[in-house]
Symmetry: C2
Subunit: 176 residues, 2 copies
């Protein structure tokens, strides 16, 4: 990157947070930048995420943590999820040290914060310790005021209309 | 597509409209769906859009209309842009007839409407005549109430913060 890397957040109730981050990855790859994509609270064994397959094909490094969310898996304890999220943060710090990517996406990490698996201080520490040249992209509903204040770019995706509200189910290729 | 195709709009002042559409294209390609991406009011000779290169590499059909917007090119008349936009709509109807894509993205077409190059009736006609199975994605600031009422999914991307406001210029790999 030619300039200092910034921090973006895509938050809000509407559709378009993960896809924005994925689209940004695609734009960056088109200019030869190196991208790492880490997702939280998404279970590719349950939902076959089409975007993961293409990101990998394009040589984006794809990793997942805390794949099972208690909302969907009743036999998973909150402590277990917290431990998984903390492992994710340790992994992010390793990525920081390796310093081989231009863009790092932490997809749905704001959910870890919203649902109490990570503290605001733990997430803030990840923002504070970012290597200067890295562009850091966070997604998920529930960004706090302190996080919004800290970062450079915040888009809040408002749900004006969503087909789920008309009873339409998740569709392959559109919602995952 | 297994179900009836829906119509999405990504509108609002914040960053994430085009990237959402591109991310959705990537997700769809990951499930073997066929995607056509048509952009309006974007000049790839002026800005080297990284996402176009990758979409083409992934065998997305990429087309552009009305590439020069009078905001950037003072010697282009509004009439000329309107003619280009109408050519775009004719092309969309051709795509409808061919019926070989699962997803059609009309990137920034809402700008054509907002800036008066297309009428609401002309855009509405494109929505009304969509083949049943096609998923249609429109982006751009300035969606009207009638258009919002008509479609199935609307995400309004609110700009909470954007680095342009701090004087940071467009950055390759991030803004184009």
């Amino acid at each position: 990157m030619q300039t200092k890397g910034l921090i973006h957040i895509y938050t809000g109730q509407g559709k378009g947070k993960t896809t924005s981050a994925v689209g940004l990855a695609i734009r960056a790859i088109g200019h030869g930048l190196k991208v790492c994509y880490i997702y939280f609270h998404k279970d590719p064994k349950k939902w076959d995420y089409g975007e993961h397959r293409i990101l990998e094909k394009l040589e984006v490094a794809v990793f997942g943590f805390a794949e099972k969310h208690p909302h969907f898996y009743k036999n998973i304890s909150n402590d277990e999820i917290r431990r998984e999220c903390l492992k994710g943060l340790e992994f992010v710090k390793k990525i920081y040290q390796e310093n081989k990517y231009d863009i790092l996406i932490l997809d749905e990490i704001i959910i870890s914060l919203r649902d109490g698996f990570l503290t605001e201080k733990e997430v803030m520490d990840i923002l504070d310790s970012k290597p200067e040249n890295l562009e850091l992209i966070l997604t998920g509903r529930g960004a706090t005021d302190a996080i919004i204040k800290k970062v450079d770019l915040v888009s809040r995706i408002e749900k004006i209309k969503h087909p789920y509200d008309s009873g339409i189910q998740r569709r392959k290729g559109i919602e995952y």
